[in-house]
C-alpha cells in the first residue's frame, strides 16, 4: 500500500507541454534564463570512525556569484547527510523530499534510517526524471551496518566509494584525495584532508569559492561545522561611509497642515440593526 513517491501529480512525471514553445522561442533568439547552478566542489571520505563530508559555499548564476555563503550539505536523517551539486533548486527539493520520506519510514519501522535506503529513494527519483532533475549528490552516513559513502549522478546511477568528489571542482579535489588518501585516517586527518580538497576546488575552479563547510558523522553522533574554514574574507572595507553628492537642491519649503473635514463625535448613537 505504501508508495515510494509522496503524492504523484495527476499527470505523472515531468510535463513536457512547453517544449515546443521553448524551441520556437530559442529559434527567435530568446534564451532560457540561466539556471542557478551550484558550480561547486563537494567531497566525502570514509575514515576510521565514520564519514566526513565537505563542500564549498559559492552559488553561481552563469558568471555571477548569486550566493557567497550558501549551504550545500543537506540534512537527510540524524545519521545521514548529503552534499548537492548541480541546479540548486533541484538538489534542495530532492533532498528535502527524501528527508521527509525517510522520516515517515523511521516512524513506520521504529528503526534508524539506513544509507542505502536514502540512496535508493534518490536514485529511483532521479532515474524516473531521466536526468532532467539536475542533481549530482555525495551521500554519506553511518548506520547499523557501518559507514557508507555514495555518489549519485543526475541520471540515476550510483557508485559506492571510500572517497568521492563531485561538481565542477571535482578534478581539483580528486587530485588531492588520490595523492593523500589512505585507509584508517583519524578524525583530524580526515577533516584536514577534506578541507584541503575543498580548498583546491575553491582556489582552482571558478565555479567554487568562499568558505569550507564540513560535516563529520560517526556512530551515534554528528558534527555540522558550518564555515569550518573561511579562506576568503573581505580584506578591504572602506572605513568611512560612501558619500553621494546631492543632486537635487531644496529651493524653498511650504508646509500645509491637513484640515479636518469630518467631525468625529465620541459615544454616538449605536447603529440601527
Amino acid at each position: 500500500m505504501s508508495k515510494l513517491a509522496m503524492d504523484v501529480p495527476a499527470k505523472g512525471g515531468f510535463s513536457f507541454d512547453l517544449c515546443k514553445r521553448n524551441a520556437m522561442l530559442a529559434k527567435d533568439g530568446v534564451q532560457l534564463p540561466p539556471f542557478r547552478k551550484t558550480g561547486t566542489t563537494i567531497v566525502g571520505l570514509i575514515y576510521q570512525d565514520g564519514v566526513v563530508l565537505g563542500a564549498d559555499t559559492r552559488a553561481t548564476e552563469g558568471p555571477i556569484v548569486a550566493d557567497k555563503n550558501c549551504e550545500k550539505i543537506h540534512y537527510l536523517a540524524p545519521n545521514i547527510y548529503c552534499c548537492g551539486a548541480g541546479t540548486a533548486a533541484d538538489t534542495e527539493a530532492v533532498t528535502d523530499m527524501v528527508s521527509a520520506q525517510l522520516q515517515l519510514h523511521r516512524y513506520h519501522t521504529g528503526r534508524e534510517s539506513r544509507v542505502v535506503t536514502a540512496l535508493t529513494y534518490l536514485k529511483r527519483h532521479l532515474f524516473s526524471y531521466q536526468g532532467h532533475v539536475s542533481a549530482a549528490l555525495v551521500l554519506g552516513g553511518v548506520d547499523f551496518t557501518g559507514p557508507h559513502l555514495h555518489t549519485i549522478y543526475p541520471h540515476g546511477s550510483t557508485d559506492t566509494l571510500p572517497y568521492a568528489t563531485m561538481g565542477s571542482g571535482s578534478l581539483a579535489a580528486m587530485a588531492i584525495f588520490e595523492s593523500k588518501y589512505k585507509e584508517g585516517l583519524t578524525r583530524d586527518e580526515g577533516v584536514q584532508l577534506v578541507t584541503e580538497a575543498i580548498c583546491a576546488g575553491i582556489f582552482n575552479d571558478l565555479g567554487s569559492g568562499s568558505n569550507v563547510d564540513i560535516c563529520v558523522i560517526t556512530k551515534g553522533s554528528k558534527e555540522y561545522l558550518r564555515n569550518h574554514l573561511q579562506p576568503n574574507p573581505r580584506t578591504y572595507v572602506t572605513p568611512k561611509e560612501y558619500t553621494f553628492s546631492k543632486k537635487t537642491e531644496v529651493l524653498s519649503t511650504l508646509v500645509t497642515t491637513l484640515k479636518e473635514r469630518v467631525e468625529v463625535v465620541e459615544a454616538g448613537d449605536k447603529m440601527e440593526e
Binding site: D96, M97, L104, G110
Partner: protein
C-alpha cells in the same frame, strides 16, 4: 424499529436524524479497552490497558501508544487495525505540513486533519467509519494539549478524559481528582490509579502502557518496545 431499516447504509440518515453506522462505531469504541488522558499544567499523560488475548502473545510486538511527531502522541480505544491506518495517515499529514510550512505541525492542526480524514469515511461510498476514538496528546507553542477524536470526525479538547469499557467510572474518578494546577508527576499517578479502578486482574508494568510529554516537548512511551 424504523432505524434498523437505515442502519445498513452509512450515507443515509435515519428518520431520527442519526447516522446509525456512526452510533455502531461508537459502540465498538465503547467495548474496547479503557484508555485515558490527563492534561497537567506542565505536560500531558495518556495511558491504556494492554490486555493481550493470551499469555502466548509476544507483548513486545504490540505497541498501543504511538507517536505521530516527536512532540505529539496518540492512544486509542476500539479496533487496533483501524488505529494503525489512522496513525499512518496522520504521520504523513504531519510530514507534509512540515514540508510546506517548515514548521512542526501544531497539535490543533494535526487533530483537525485527522478528524477530517475520519469524517471523509462517514460521507463516502463503499467505506465504513473508523471503529476507534483517539486521544491525542501534544505539547507545542500553545502549551500542553489533549484532544479526543471520535469516529464521526468530531473532536474535543479535554482537561482529562477516558474512553472504552470503563468510561463512566473512570470519568467520575478523574472528575474528583482533577485540579487545574495538577503537575505532570501527579497526573501520571492519577492516570495509573484510574486505570487500576476498572482493571480486571492484577495491574502491572506489563499490561498497561503510558505515554508522557513534558516541557521538553519530547513524547516518551513506557515501555518502549520497538527496536532501536
Amino acid at each position: 424499529m424504523g432505524d434498523s431499516q437505515y442502519s445498513f447504509s452509512l450515507t443515509t440518515f435515519s428518520p431520527s436524524g442519526k447516522l446509525v453506522q456512526i452510533e455502531h462505531a461508537l459502540t465498538a469504541v465503547g467495548s474496547g479497552q479503557t484508555s485515558l488522558g490527563i492534561k497537567a499544567s506542565n505536560g500531558v499523560v495518556i495511558a491504556t490497558e494492554k490486555k493481550l488475548p493470551s499469555i502466548l502473545v509476544d507483548e513486545a510486538s504490540v505497541q498501543k501508544i504511538q507517536c505521530l511527531t516527536p512532540n505529539i502522541g496518540v492512544v486509542y480505544s476500539g479496533m487496533g487495525p483501524d488505529f494503525r491506518v489512522l496513525v499512518r495517515k496522520s504521520r504523513k499529514q504531519a510530514v507534509q505540513y512540515h514540508q510546506l510550512y517548515k514548521e512542526p505541525i501544531p497539535v490543533t492542526q494535526l487533530v483537525r486533519e485527522t478528524a477530517a480524514v475520519m469524517q471523509e469515511f462517514t460521507q463516502s461510498g463503499g467505506v465504513r467509519p473508523f471503529g476507534v476514538s483517539l486521544l491525542v496528546a501534544g505539547f507545542d507553542d500553545s502549551g500542553p494539549q489533549l484532544f479526543q477524536v471520535d469516529p464521526s470526525g468530531s473532536y474535543f479538547s479535554w482537561k482529562a478524559s477516558a474512553m472504552g469499557k470503563n468510561v463512566s467510572n473512570a470519568k467520575t474518578f478523574l472528575e474528583k481528582r482533577y485540579t487545574d494546577e495538577i503537575e505532570l508527576e501527579d497526573a501520571v499517578h492519577t492516570a495509573i490509579l484510574t486505570l487500576k479502578e476498572g482493571f480486571e486482574g492484577q495491574i502491572s508494568g506489563k499490561n498497561i502502557e503510558i505515554g508522557i510529554i513534558g516541557e521538553d516537548k519530547i513524547f516518551r512511551q513506557a515501555p518502549y518496545l520497538l527496536p532501536n
